[in-house]
């Protein structure tokens, strides 16, 4: 698609979409949303970039190697946090018993491992959407 209007609007709107996605992920333990929703928003912003500028341009920003590594890293990060719980308290994915800092109630830094897990899920979902879309669109 080679349209000036679509390209200009995409350039203007993508930073706001990605900022909103990061907001939803980081506030997953305070407001509606969370890792799955925020990751889907970030993934959708990259899909919009692919639709407007073409797959070659998006791959020069975010190559398949990076999305694959982020995907594997998301799962490993999740399991790693669970293993920290086993090492400290003997409970897989333990939160308070594993000694994660609880923070003050209602602030962004609270809830121990919950926000860490939400970040992992968000990265995972975003990279899954991007690489799935790229693999399917490359078929043509």
């Amino acid at each position: 698609m080679d349209d000036l209007i679509v390209k200009t609007v995409t350039k203007l709107i993508i930073p706001f979409i990605q900022l909103y996605g990061i907001f939803v992920i980081l506030h997953g333990h305070l407001s509606p949303g969370g890792g799955f929703a925020g990751g889907a928003i970030i993934g959708a912003s990259f899909i919009l970039l692919t639709l407007a500028f073409g797959i070659e341009y998006t791959k020069s920003i975010l190559s398949a190697k990076v999305t694959e590594r982020v995907e594997i890293g998301g799962v490993i990060w999740y399991i790693f946090i669970g293993l920290i719980g086993i090492a400290i308290s003997g409970v897989f994915l333990g939160n308070r018993v594993a000694g994660f800092p609880m923070g003050t109630f209602g602030s962004v830094i609270s809830g121990g491992m919950i926000s860490l897990i939400t970040i992992g899920i968000g990265l995972k979902v975003a990279s899954t959407m991007i690489s799935l879309f790229h693999h399917i669109i490359e078929e043509d």
Binding site: L30, S31, G34, Y78, F105, G111, I117, I121, T128
Partner: protein, 95 residues
């Protein structure tokens, strides 16, 4: 003969399933077994246990974090399957 046997078995199974439909609790029934003390426990103890304001987030990433790990693994498995089916054909085309 074999087809009739299959048909009869399936019909009997259908009768069993449909008859048990009547025993299901009505939607919104207060005596339904789904409304038990677990929901009350989540509402009363989320702040003490996890110190966060979003109870749903507490359920999916703390109380049932192992289930969410399975969900994440499902995503990982699906992308692995897609890449293993589509990825090779792309490589062949380029070479």
């Amino acid at each position: 003969m074999k087809n009739y046997l299959i048909l009869i078995t399936l019909t009997l199974l259908l009768i069993v399933l449909v008859s048990s439909l009547n025993e299901m609790p009505v939607m919104g029934d207060i005596a339904s077994p789904a409304y038990n003390e677990v929901a009350e426990y989540y509402i009363n103890n989320t702040q003490e246990d996890t110190n966060i304001t979003n109870i749903i987030s507490a359920i999916i990433t703390d109380y049932r974090a192992f289930d969410t790990l399975g969900e994440t693994t499902v995503l990982f498995t699906s992308i692995t399957a897609v890449v293993s089916v589509l990825g090779f054909s792309i490589k062949d085309k380029k070479e």
